[in-house]
């Protein structure tokens, strides 16, 4: 440990040594001290992007110049004359029925121009898989991040003050926070008759028979936690209507085509009247893949007849924007004495939070990847996504892949340890090769798993580390 700091220093110094690049230096990207500040109005041609092979060459981003100069315009850097600022009041309970909303005191405040509740939204549902999520919750709130009332005022501070004047009466309902409890028959239900809202089964071979024939059977439960994307730029939107009944939205949304569909649906106007401008996004990571405050801002702008901007607070970001699905994963794996995997049985429980969001994609990817990149003849995967009264879970880098990777790789280590095998060897023994079949019988091509593992082990000194 004593040499740790020195090691970091040496490593980093090696990293910053000039690298040999085969890319011809491009005129517009060449930089040297004292070069004039070039404001790129056209996309600079990066030769390394055009040359083959591009792998291993350094490519600069065309937008980095303005990023470095602090001149990139994110949503919050844009403003319009007479623009209002919106804030959203969120639920006080994880599960409750709204009995009454009184916004009159807030509306009396000078400078407060418009308020909006869920009952005023033309079609109060959206979602990329199922349309089960309200824009502003009404009459049921299903988690603490559910927005209930939005306010537009002449300053952000005033909008925040106005939220404190809003009175909402709730009838608290029983809530459920644990996905396993939520699966039971007598658990409080969030939507309809069951909390299990989607499932997936993958079968290959005969798992039970293969487990009986295995020399060793390993069983363990693995769990992962919620993760928030924390994009440094919070979700932000500006809306403005024109004289022809069309709304223009500037949004930090990453998927504008899907967003436009959802906005047109919630506002009940044709897509031709929605103009959605996606600008530079200050970090997405999956969290900006569906609409959040866009319809709210659009409707506030319509009521106020002025442009309205809404920027999530960091608190809004954590409690109301989607997060990564926590998984509860039961793995049972049968191996023979040589370390060959004969069977793997997996049960995944996805904690979906209050709404579906991108669960459809997550459960699919998570299930297909659950057995790991290994040739296994007998597979049984079953996965269930379950509603709970918590922040809705959605897309985040990998759609379920990192969760199952944690489980199957942890179990591979356990198996190797028990059999007295080298953890690398057991992976090489079972790993995918060219033309291996995936759990859903897709023939895999360009498989470089074993080469990658071997090269990585050589590069970071796996054998030396093992001693």
């Amino acid at each position: 440990m004593a040499t740790r700091t020195t090691d970091i220093q040496t490593d980093a110094e090696q990293l910053v040594m000039p690298r040999e690049s085969k890319a011809p230096a491009s005129q517009s990207l060449a930089l040297s001290g004292g070069s004039p500040v070039v404001f790129p109005l056209e996309l600079p041609q990066s030769e390394s992007r055009l040359s083959t092979p591009a792998v291993g060459q350094r490519a600069t981003r065309p937008d980095a110049r303005l990023h470095g100069l602090g001149q990139t315009q994110y949503i919050d850097d844009i403003s319009f004359p007479h623009m209002l600022h919106a804030k959203i009041l969120r639920s006080e309970y994880p599960h409750a029925r709204i009995l009454n909303i009184d916004t009159s005191e807030a509306e009396k405040m000078p400078g407060v121009i418009a308020t909006l509740t869920g009952a005023e939204i033309p079609e109060n549902t959206f979602g990329p898989t199922f349309q089960d999520q309200p824009v502003l919750a009404y009459p049921i709130v299903r988690h603490l991040g559910d927005g209930v009332v939005a306010v537009a005022a002449i300053t952000e501070q005033l909008a925040a003050d106005a939220l404190e004047k809003i009175k909402i009466e709730y009838e608290p309902l029983p809530a459920v926070f644990d996905p396993l409890e939520a699966m039971e028959d007598d658990a409080p239900k969030l939507h309809g008759e069951t909390n299990i809202y989607t499932s997936k089964v993958i079968k290959k071979g005969d798992v039970e028979k293969a487990l009986k024939e295995s020399d060793h059977v390993f069983h363990r439960q693995y769990r992962t936690q919620m993760v928030e994307h924390v994009p440094l730029e919070p979700h932000a939107t500006i809306a403005s209507w024109d004289g022809n009944g069309r709304v223009t939205l500037w949004s930090s949304l990453g998927r504008i085509t899907l967003g436009r569909e959802d906005i047109s649906r919630t506002l009940a106007i044709p897509q031709s009247r929605v103009r959605l401008i996606g600008t530079v996004v200050g970090g997405n990571f999956g969290g900006k893949n569906e609409i959040t405050n866009e319809p709210i801002v659009a409707l506030l702008s319509k009521k106020a007849r002025r442009p309205v901007k809404s920027v999530f607070t960091r608190g809004d970001e954590f409690v109301s924007s989607t997060i990564r699905h926590p998984f509860i994963m039961d793995y049972t794996t049968g191996v023979n004495n040589e370390g060959k995997i004969l069977a793997r049985k997996v049960r995944l429980i996805l904690d979906g939070g209050a709404y579906c969001s991108w669960t459809g994609t997550t459960i699919g990817k998570g299930s297909i990847l659950a057995p790991g990149p290994y040739n296994i003849d007998n597979i049984h995967v079953e996965a269930y996504a379950v509603y709970t009264n918590k922040t809705a879970t959605g897309a985040m880098r990998g759609f379920g892949a990192p969760q199952v990777c944690f489980a199957y790789e942890s179990q591979m280590d356990e198996i190797a340890h028990k059999l007295g095998m080298d953890p690398l060897e057991i992976r090489l023994k079972n790993g995918f090769t060219e033309n291996s079949l995936s759990p859903t019988s897709q023939t895999l091509q360009s498989v470089a798993l074993k080469e990658s593992l071997t090269q990585a082990a050589d590069r970071f000194g796996w054998k030396e580390w093992q001693k």
């Binding site: 970091i8 910053v16 004292g34 937008d63 602090g70 200050g282």
Partner: protein, 158 residues
């Protein structure tokens, strides 16, 4: 209340409500939107500016508190005809991805290099500890700052 600042060498003033933060004054009254609002509680560092030689989270400082001081923002980092070496190296190393942390990160790095022109990796990490980045994993940022420091040292010795 009237707040007067020397921002990037220029005398600027604005009449702001007393609760206005320096960040809000810079962004809204002076239209210098380079410093960003990321968390509003001093955790993320996207609002970093340099006041009288010290890097601060401008979201935590009241504008009134900064009255009469010398403020450098990201807009003042490049000169009218040349990028600051940090801007060049950040671009070259791919240290700016989504770019939202960039202005704050660059100002913290400048503040470090102004005091210590050839920092160690450990010192760079320490100086940038108050600036969060979710894209790069920090490696490229640290490499870029080290490289600038190395060039500065080479120039001093030459």
């Amino acid at each position: 209340m009237l707040v007067e600042l020397r921002v990037n060498g220029e005398l600027r003033s604005a009449d702001v409500p007393p609760e206005t933060t320096l960040l809000k004054m810079l962004r809204e009254s002076l239209e210098l939107t380079g410093a960003k609002l990321g968390c509003d509680v001093g955790d993320c560092g996207t609002c970093t500016v340099i006041i009288d030689g010290i890097s601060v989270n401008s979201c935590l400082m009241l504008a009134a508190r900064a009255n009469g001081s010398e403020v450098t923002t990201i807009e003042g980092l490049a000169s009218s005809n040349a990028l600051h070496p940090l801007q060049e190296k950040f671009e070259e190393y791919g240290a700016l991805q989504c770019g939202f942390c960039g202005p704050g990160m660059l100002m913290s790095a400048k503040s470090l290099l102004d005091k210590n022109s050839n920092p160690t990796v450990y010192e760079v990490r320490d100086a940038l500890a108050g600036n969060l980045c979710r894209c790069t994993g920090y490696t490229k940022i640290i490499e870029a700052v080290i490289d600038v420091g190395r060039n500065m040292k080479a120039e001093t010795n030459a």
